[in-house]
């Protein structure tokens, strides 16, 4: 590679990463700005973090969001693991393709459409069987339904990499199918299940569109609060909140990635 070309590539990288990170960095910097005017720097302070801690509406919304995300992520991985196994074994071919299309549909269907469709479902269900009441439950159900698609992809990717000889070996050693699943397959799938859970959790925690459609009175998630606030313009408290979220997520993801980094290849085909 010639010197000139590597300089060009390096600048492309530098530009790309600056583009990706500068907006977040500026957001974080301004969250420590004392001024109410978000665009004018006065001096550093933790004022908006303090305000955030006293904002009961925001704290309630955050707590609700976390609970919804945890529930929907758990349902997502349970369903996603099942779907990954079903896809592996399902015959005939057209049944497998049909199942796959249905399971992965939420990956390409726009959020507004998912939100609308889920709401209409809940409206029709409410009219016919009187359940579910719109609120946290419907948000969790909707989130679980699209979270399942992501969990399926992640877990299935790992499942197809697993060496089939492993559970044959376990079977020869006398393990029953259920024991084989619990003692061989499940531990090997664990990183993928964790990753799928984390992905569904993050997507749920981040979702504003679907939640806006299917929510009911009283169930206000954090993204809904944030969204209604930022539609009105920039607010220093949201900057502080954003900083907290970004730092939390970054720490979480870095830990998760380092735990499952490509060095751990046990049980995969060579």
């Amino acid at each position: 590679m010639s010197g000139r070309r590597s300089v060009a590539l390096l600048s492309a990288l530098a530009f790309g990463y600056a583009f990706l990170y500068l907006p977040i960095v500026i957001l974080i910097v301004y969250s420590f700005n004392d001024s109410r005017l978000v665009t004018v720097w006065s001096h550093a302070s933790l004022r908006w973090y303090a305000a955030l801690l006293e904002n009961q509406q925001m704290l309630d919304a955050a707590w609700l969001s976390l609970r919804i995300a945890a529930v929907s992520a758990t349902v997502s991985v349970a369903l996603g693991t099942g779907a990954a196994f079903a896809l592996q074994r399902l015959k005939p071919f057209f049944a497998q393709r049909g199942y796959e299309a249905l399971a992965l549909m939420p990956l390409i269907v726009p959020e507004v459409l998912i939100g609308l469709a889920m709401l209409l479902l809940f409206v029709v269900l409410g009219d016919t069987i009187g359940w579910p009441e719109r609120g946290a439950t419907t948000i969790a159900l909707a989130h679980a339904s699209f979270g399942m698609a992501y969990a399926t992809v992640v877990i299935r990717a790992r499942l197809t990499q697993l060496d089939p000889a492993l559970d044959e070996a376990a079977a020869i050693l006398g393990a029953t199918p259920w024991r084989t699943f619990r003692r061989v397959t499940l531990p090997l799938l664990a990183p993928a299940i964790a990753a799928g859970w984390l992905l569904s959790f993050t997507l749920s925690l981040d979702d504003v569109v679907v939640a806006s459609f299917v929510t009911g009175p009283g169930a206000t998630t954090l993204p809904i609060v944030v969204f209604s606030s930022v539609r009105l313009g920039v607010s220093p408290q949201i900057n502080a909140l954003a900083t907290v979220i970004v730092v939390l997520v970054a720490v979480l993801i870095l830990t998760a990635t380092l735990m499952t980094r490509p060095g751990q290849r046990d049980g995969r085909r060579a």
């Binding site: 990706l20 990170y21 907006p23 726009p110 209409l120 044959e168």
Partner: protein, 299 residues
């Protein structure tokens, strides 16, 4: 993974049955209801749409479907414009994303194995942090008295602040920003697998570096480009948050129009009809792109 034996088969049936029931109830059924509602008419009351079947005097229920909403969409220039500009904005954004992502992916693929992992992590990390917040970050940056305008004025590039926020430009920027990782990753995946001795072979046969790129690297990386395009163009088509927060009142996109019809005008049938149009557009685009991808891979 085989789960042989009677117990395994029973377990498998339970899994298959449960997940299939879930998929039918929470994925297929909602879509069918959207189609049904799109064929009904708006009314005051709860739910705000007429039932599709009416039990009249006769034995059989009367099918009470209307294509009013679709006629409205096809005839009202607002919806046609929203449709066209959704496609246009998604396409130009995906193209700009490609222009930024390709050199990045190329540089990462040519980096040392150790650097590669860190560089990839840095590409993926923003994807995990809140989409809403990343879009919001730009509202501050693009403000009339935000950092970008301040910098430009201080540098003497402009004397008056530019109107950046609430423009179509901002929507493009937001899409490129949010979806950049989705373009980088598939292109990187293809380039990383590529045999670099092919580039040397091209140079050995007389190609200057840029010719070797055009004749060998680029055609071989097209599957990654198609895949990246798929991952950016498709979600951008139905995007709501970005046009809503960064776009101007005249930035029409299908997702945003749907939202307005639903929440502001409470016209559920029209919103549903827009959803069906959006779904068809998305499915058709995805199908075409996947076909193109398969043709490339077969070649």
């Amino acid at each position: 993974m085989s789960m042989t034996g009677g117990a395994g088969r029973g377990l498998r049936r339970v899994i298959l049955g449960a997940t299939t029931a879930w998929l039918l109830a929470f994925t297929l059924l909602p879509m069918l209801i959207v189609v049904a509602v799109s064929l009904s008419e708006p009314r005051l009351g709860a739910p705000p749409f007429t039932p599709l079947f009416e039990w009249g005097a006769g034995f059989w229920p009367i099918f009470n479907g209307h294509i009013t909403s679709y006629v409205t969409i096809a005839s009202d220039s607002l919806y046609v414009a929203a449709f066209v500009s959704s496609l246009r904005i998604a396409a130009t954004s995906a193209f700009i994303t490609l222009l930024i992502a390709y050199p990045m992916a190329y540089a990462i693929a040519r980096a040392s194995a150790r650097a590669r992992f860190a560089l990839l992590m840095l590409v993926i990390l923003p994807f995990w942090t809140s989409f809403l917040i990343r879009t919001y970050a730009w509202t501050g940056l693009l403000n009339t008295n935000g950092p970008i305008n301040n910098t430009l004025i201080n540098l003497g590039v402009v004397s008056e602040p530019l109107t950046l926020l609430h423009t179509e430009f901002a929507v493009h920027l937001g899409i490129v920003y949010s979806y950049l990782p989705f373009m980088v990753l598939p292109i990187y995946a293809v380039l990383e697998r590529m045999d670099w001795s092919l580039i040397e072979a091209a140079q050995d046969l007389g190609s200057r570096p840029y010719r070797a790129f055009v004749r060998v690297t680029l055609p071989l990386s097209l599957p990654g480009v198609f895949a990246g395009w798929l991952l950016v163009f498709i979600p951008a088509l139905g995007e709501f948050i970005i046009p809503d927060l960064l776009g101007g009142p005249d930035t029409l996109m299908l997702g945003r129009v749907l939202w307005t019809e639903f929440f502001n005008n409470r016209d559920w049938p029209l919103a549903s009809a827009l959803a069906v149009v959006l779904l068809m557009t998305v499915l058709l685009s995805a199908l075409l792109l996947v076909k193109a991808l398969q043709r490339r891979e077969a070649a």
